[in-house]
Symmetry: C2
Subunit: 156 residues, 2 copies
């Protein structure tokens, strides 16, 4: 399903839904970050996705990372909340979702890289290589906040 | 609107909605905790409520505390997430909401105690007085976690 992000855009459509979502910051022993190439908007991103009824938010992180990357992770902590109401995502079925994302740091515990319908590439990227990748600014910000190792989660 | 909470109850109705919600832990200079007597389930609780489209999660905390207690607060940090899928809340309009709550510590910056349609009493309570109050165990847990001043938010 195609997706368009609008941030602080006066022409953005009005939000009609909120789905709590997650992203996961997973690093390997060399400090590289696990990224996917997303099929919905053709951008690079942290693995993640929407919460489903019947799971805890930690379950969501574990499931989405597994589905999109093939890796198994264990959730460690929250690195930030991203709930700017002026960031909406329009899908081609008419849903306009207000951003409501929670970013988690997670630890790799197993699995092997595997692509999916949502992720055409699964890669480990050194932090200094990220700037050159085509990535939404809101995703860059989540990575930046996680790398800063703040004492308390970013609240946005 | 009446509300019944079910936790780990095999007879609980199946959830049909998720609404991100918040509670706020606000303490005065004597360390007392701001509590309300809720009209929907007749229990004592932290102020809080559901996120609305168009606001950030921090906006939700500020608005709900203002509406239910009359006080103005500034959000400081997250003390925990509470997303146990085996905790559902049934409302008398047929909505069965899976718990999806985020607890925040917030700082008192102004206002005066004021009740509302959702809160018949607004009080400051010393931590050791809380055990004697009629309160849902899941609310007691949020207060306990906040008082522990954990280095990282509780993830549940």
């Amino acid at each position: 399903m195609a997706r368009i992000d609008y941030v602080d855009d006066p022409n953005a459509p009005a939000a009609n839904s909120v789905v709590p979502s997650v992203v996961a910051i997973v690093r390997d022993t060399d400090g590289r970050i696990l990224l996917i190439h997303k099929t919905d908007n053709n951008l690079w991103a942290l693995p993640g996705g929407g919460h489903e009824i019947g799971e805890s938010i930690v379950d969501t992180v574990v499931r989405e990372v597994q589905e999109e990357t093939g890796y198994d992770v264990e959730v460690e902590t929250i690195t930030g909340t991203y709930t700017n109401p002026r960031h909406v995502m329009a899908y081609d079925d008419g849903e306009v979702r207000q951003q409501f994302s929670i970013a988690f740091r997670a630890r790799l515990i197993g699995g092997e890289a595997q692509t999916s319908s949502e992720s055409s590439e699964v890669v480990w990227v050194r932090p200094e290589e990220i700037e050159a990748l085509d990535m939404h600014p809101s995703m860059r910000m989540r990575i930046q906040h996680a790398l800063e190792e703040r004492r308390a989660p970013y609240l946005g």
